[in-house]
Symmetry: C2
Subunit: 180 residues, 2 copies
């Protein structure tokens, strides 16, 4: 670290994110600020069926005012184990559950200004959960898409799938499963 | 869209990000809010040498208070062409330039709350730029790392590289180049 923290100010404390402003000074004496978005982090699920189909969800994303295709995912509750979050979100968003879970990675979504960490899991040995889906009101329009993983990779290459965690999760999972 | 926008309020206008709060009402009559972080977007460069080495940068990231390994990248200036941004950032951060550029994708970093779009380019036919690097004061500690792309992929699999855009860019580029 090549600076000293002069002041930290919580500017906004919100529903999903907080905003903190740090004032720093470099060894030269010059001052600067850093804006930090604090986010609870989340879990992301690459759910792979025996025939190598995967599950995606298409949902309205307000920052882009349009539908975005993503892997099933959700925010961590306070102190929640990321694996339990992944299992909960897969069930709630898609109605599926899985018997075999392994971690693909824990990635930084956008480390320049935000501390969000996304824990990405590979879920296999998939079955229908007896309870089905459980969507919140804001997720009412979620559409579940099942398609072969190689088709999802083609969609990434054609820029029809452009969510960062989804690209990373699918390509990492495909490598792990030996699928090209 | 299954709701109506009741009110939009700019909560913070900052150096790199802005924060806007939208108040929405669902068809049921229930109200909710959406927090939107506005970010100018950026360009990301997978720079591949003839021998399949790539360039990474290791730099201090304040939200995690530690060094993070990433592909060279930078924010778009207002109305800047993403390709020109990519060419500028590659030169400024690494001192290299490239004659052959192609786009890998434009990805959403974290679409749940932020409108950041990252334009990811593959740069080939690489040479030393006569002007060398040009780091800003906040980037003074950037370390440039050159390593074989297959070693970078191993680092992704071992969770030594965990930045989302970097995972996506390296794995997409490797596919495009036929490297496994």
């Amino acid at each position: 670290m090549h600076f000293k923290l002069l002041q930290r100010e919580k500017k906004y404390s919100g529903k999903i994110i907080d905003l903190t402003i740090d004032r720093l000074v470099y060894p030269s004496g010059n001052e600067t600020i850093r804006e930090i978005i604090e986010h609870p982090g989340g879990a992301v699920i690459l759910c792979v069926f025996e025939n190598k189909d995967i599950l995606l969800v298409k949902q309205y994303r307000h920052p882009f005012a349009k539908d975005v295709i993503e892997l099933p995912a959700g925010k961590l509750d306070k102190n929640e184990d990321p694996l339990l979050c992944a299992q909960r979100e897969l069930r709630e968003e898609t109605g599926f559950a899985a018997k075999q879970w392994s971690k693909l990675t824990s990635l930084y979504a956008t480390p320049g200004f935000c501390n969000e960490i996304l824990h990405v899991y590979l879920a296999q040995d998939v079955y229908h959960h007896e309870l089905g889906t459980a969507l919140e009101e804001g997720e009412a329009s979620i559409e579940v898409i099942r398609l072969p993983i190689i088709e999802a990779i083609s969609k990434i290459e054609r820029e029809e799938i452009i969510d960062g965690k989804t690209i990373a999760g699918i390509l990492l999972g495909a490598r792990k499963l030996g699928i090209q």
